[in-house]
């Protein structure tokens, strides 16, 4: 089942299903390696719970929680969060 990335917890491993943002924002995500079918891990949230950090096959990207709303994901494996 697809959920927005923003609802994921630390340690969740998910696969990108769709990018729903628009224009420049979406291109930026693509340039940084967010693409359909790509796996990523939620590494952590910043101390104030925003932004979040994800691991995209070794490259770490940070994005705001409200931005992660635009990335639809589906769980890849068992979550091993806290």
């Amino acid at each position: 089942m697809d959920t927005p990335l923003s609802l994921c917890r630390e340690g969740d491993r998910v696969t990108i299903k769709k990018l729903t943002g628009h224009g420049g924002f979406k291109k930026r995500l693509l340039d940084l390696g967010f693409r359909k079918g790509k796996e990523l891990t939620v590494v952590r949230y910043a101390p104030l719970r925003d932004p979040m950090e994800v691991d995209l096959s070794g490259s770490h990207i940070s994005l705001r929680v409200e931005e992660a709303d635009h990335i639809e994901v589906t769980p890849t494996s068992e979550t091993h969060g806290k």
């Binding site: 930026r28 910043a46 101390p47 104030l48 096959s57 990207i61 940070s62």
Partner: protein, 725 residues
């Protein structure tokens, strides 16, 4: 330029490009050494570094262009980077690839391939890749991509010789394996590319040596810059309506916009090529960098650690920097004393000692501070910690409508507002950038520090450090407060995305930190050498002219009389008394003359405005000259308070004079005024260039003066009401 018409020596130009954090700059440093020049590209003030070397009889020119993730040109730096790649006159593009992150780095390489310009890939940080156990069949990969691949380790300089040899060979058109490879986008997209290319051909679109296919792709991606470029041509309607039609057709077919599909195909091509050539070792998820981040961005530790680093940076800059500062100071004092003794009293001696050495020397002593600070900032950047600062600060910055990245320009502002305003260029949206630039000058730059040191040391000798720390605290407070106010009033509306990379932690190299430090130091000296030198002379002129013969003669007569009386007296106590009177008289003479010079007049002109703050005309004059450069406030006060011809410990004389003239409360109000009012002319010029709007420039100028006045007023009257007068 490339291939200049001299037949005997070959010369080639190379552009170094690559993702941010790919180690491009360390390769550039490794190639060119300190032999670099920082320039601007095409009217915008994004730094483009150039350097040149001689190698086997050829002259090689290198340009280090800003890092970019792709050719979609999103940030201003990326627009500059792309513009340089497309329009710059380069023989060969060298794309520096972070070997540990091939997928994303090759995404840029693929787009460079599509340009059809000569290209060499430098697989950088190859040692890290090898250590991780991953194997790459580069011969095969090079064949698949149709470009030569070299291995480099930027931090040690390994592989750079081979890279240069290869690049020169490609430039000479004598490299064997070059052939063109194109990503295939599938029948539907290819049809669209085909149609758009031929339409562009028909309207004689100037492709500047780049494949027309690339422009067609950009049109399908709805690239704003390229679309605009087409729009300006006559007969562009056909192209633009075809662009629209094709984009709609593709979207209807795939339920996805063309830009996304193109991107997916590119990634598909990369994954295909990597699948054949890369044998990945099982990845150890928890690397060292990850462990460090577990601490650095930990919920409880992040902010204490951040504060500790900032404290360390401060201590290094200001406590450690105090030693070389002392040496400079005594050197300058020695020089003025020597000249004073060696030369006969004259207008020229006065100009040289009081004007030039006094003015420039007073600025020079702060060079150590600046060098240490930028060394520190460079380390923060090179280690990757700067990005973590943005990560942990974003929530707070977002509150005042800013980006986490805005914190970096603001921090830079501690060093100098000029690079701070320029650093705002890393912000993607114009709105974020202007907002950051508007509040950045409020951050106390190092040029304001001399004023702080002088006044805090003069009026609060026991608490000087605390006062200075408080000033820095308040400068951030006011920056945030004004940011919040502006966000609520002037900048209502949509914000820009935050997404950014957190590069792995790396051990910084001394070389890169030293080069960075040297660049900033050079910049500071150039600013000092030019602007401050000219204005030191102007101020000297304004404060010595018009010559008032009458007043001078009157005082000289009185002084003569006193001197005769001193010579005649035999009582020690009355001699002492007379000497004191003489000293007073000399000061009075100086002050009276000053009052009627041009500068005294201008100071008195604005005095009524400054009166409510407790400032007198001399403070007024120093504030006017402080507009030239904030550190000049100190040298102006020096000129205004120091009796000419007396060159002891300059600062000591000045401190005593200030203590006699002002109350500590006035001193504090003055500190706040200096902290908040208009930045120096260099910063203002930078600001005007960066915001590219007179409206915002004037607004920035006006609101800062108003804020400075209001706060100084509140400090003074608050103090008086509370009984601190």
């Amino acid at each position: 330029m490339a291939n200049n018409q001299v037949p005997l020596t070959d010369s080639y130009t190379f552009a170094l490009t690559g993702n941010p954090n790919c180690g491009k700059t360390s390769i550039f440093n490794e190639i060119t050494g300190a032999n670099q020049k920082v320039g601007n590209w095409g009217g915008v003030t994004v730094d483009v570094k150039t350097g040149s070397i001689r190698r086997t009889g050829a002259k090689l020119y290198f340009t280090d262009i800003p890092g970019t993730y792709s050719l979609s040109a999103y940030t201003m730096e990326e627009i500059v980077a792309r513009d340089y790649i497309i329009n710059g006159n380069t023989d060969v593009i060298i794309d520096v690839v972070d070997s540990t992150n091939l997928e994303r780095n090759l995404y840029l390489a693929i787009q460079l391939l599509e340009l059809g310009k000569p290209l060499v890939l430098a697989f950088n940080m190859y040692d890290e890749l090898t250590r991780s156990g991953t194997r790459v069949d580069t011969e095969q990969l090079s064949h698949l991509l149709g470009v030569p691949i070299c291995f480099t380790v930027g931090r040690t300089g390994k592989g750079i010789d081979t890279l240069l040899d290869t690049a020169v060979q490609v430039a000479k058109d004598s490299y064997p394996t070059q052939h063109s490879v194109n990503v295939q986008y599938g029948p539907e997209l290819e049809e669209a590319i085909e149609k758009l290319s031929s339409l562009l051909d028909q309207i004689d679109f100037d492709r500047r040596g780049i494949e027309m296919r690339w422009y067609a792709l950009k049109l399908l991606e709805a690239d704003e810059v390229i679309t605009k470029q087409v729009q300006e041509l006559s007969g562009s309607e056909a192209v633009l309506s075809e662009q629209q039609a094709q984009m709609e057709r593709i979207e209807a077919l795939y339920h996805e916009d063309a830009a996304t599909l193109i991107s997916e195909k590119r990634y598909g091509f990369i994954l295909g090529a990597m699948g054949e050539t890369v044998k990945r070792a099982p990845v150890d998820r928890i690397g060292l960098s990850e462990k460090i981040d577990g601490i650095m961005t930990n919920r409880f530790l992040a902010y204490p650690i951040f504060a500790a680093f900032m404290w360390l940076l401060f201590q290094a800059t200001f406590t450690l920097g105090a030693y070389p500062m002392e040496w400079f100071e005594s050197g300058v004092a020695w020089l003025s004393e020597t000249l004073q003794a060696a030369m006969n009293p004259s207008m020229f001696r006065s100009l040289l000692v009081d004007g030039i050495i006094g003015g420039v020397g007073g600025v020079l002593v702060f060079l150590p501070n600046i060098l240490i600070l930028f060394f520190g900032i460079s380390i923060l950047e090179d280690t990757g910690y700067m990005a973590r600062i943005a990560f942990i600060m974003d929530k707070m910055m977002h509150r005042i409508g800013l980006h986490g990245k805005s914190f970096i320009p603001l921090i830079m502002g501690i060093g100098c507002n000029v690079p701070a305003i320029m650093a705002a260029r890393t912000l993607e949206s114009n709105r974020d950038r202007i907002l950051t630039i508007l509040i950045a000058p409020l951050i106390s730059c190092s040029a304001r520090l001399p004023v702080y040191i002088l006044f805090a040391g003069t009026f609060f000798p026991r608490n000087a450090g605390n006062i200075i720390f408080m000033l820095y605290f308040f400068s951030f407070f006011f920056a945030f407060f004004m940011g919040f106010l502006f966000k609520k009033s002037l900048f209502k509306g949509e914000e820009f995305p935050f997404v950014m990379e957190l590069p792995p932690y790396r051990v910084p190299t001394l070389k890169s930190a030293l080069i960075h430090m040297w660049e900033k130091g050079k910049h500071y000296l150039q600013k000092m050498g030019g602007v401050v030198l000219i204005f030191s002379i102007v101020i000297w002129f304004l404060s010595n002219f018009p010559v008032q013969t009458e007043v001078t003669q009157q005082y000289d007569q009185q002084i003569n009389n006193l001197e005769t009386r001193i010579a005649q007296t035999y009582s020690e106590s009355s001699e002492e008394k007379l000497s004191y009177e003489l000293e007073e008289l000399r000061t009075e003479k100086h002050r009276e003359i000053m009052k009627n010079t041009y500068i005294g007049k201008s100071g008195r002109l604005i005095e009524p405005v400054l009166r409510p703050l407790g400032f007198d005309w001399r403070m007024g004059v120093s504030l006017i000259t402080g507009f030239i450069a904030k550190e000049v406030v100190v040298s102006t006060l020096g000129v205004l308070f120091t009796v000419g011809g007396e060159a002891d410990e300059e600062s000591q004389v000045l401190q005593n004079a200030l203590r006699r003239a002002y109350t500590p409360l006035t001193g504090l109000a003055f500190l706040f005024f200096v902290m908040l009012y208009t930045p120096c002319i260099v910063a203002l010029v930078t600001l005007v260039r960066e915001v590219q709007s007179w409206k915002w420039s004037l607004f920035s100028l006006g609101y800062q003066i108003a804020l400075a006045w209001t706060i100084a007023f509140l400090v003074r009257w608050g103090g008086i009401v509370l009984g601190f007068a």
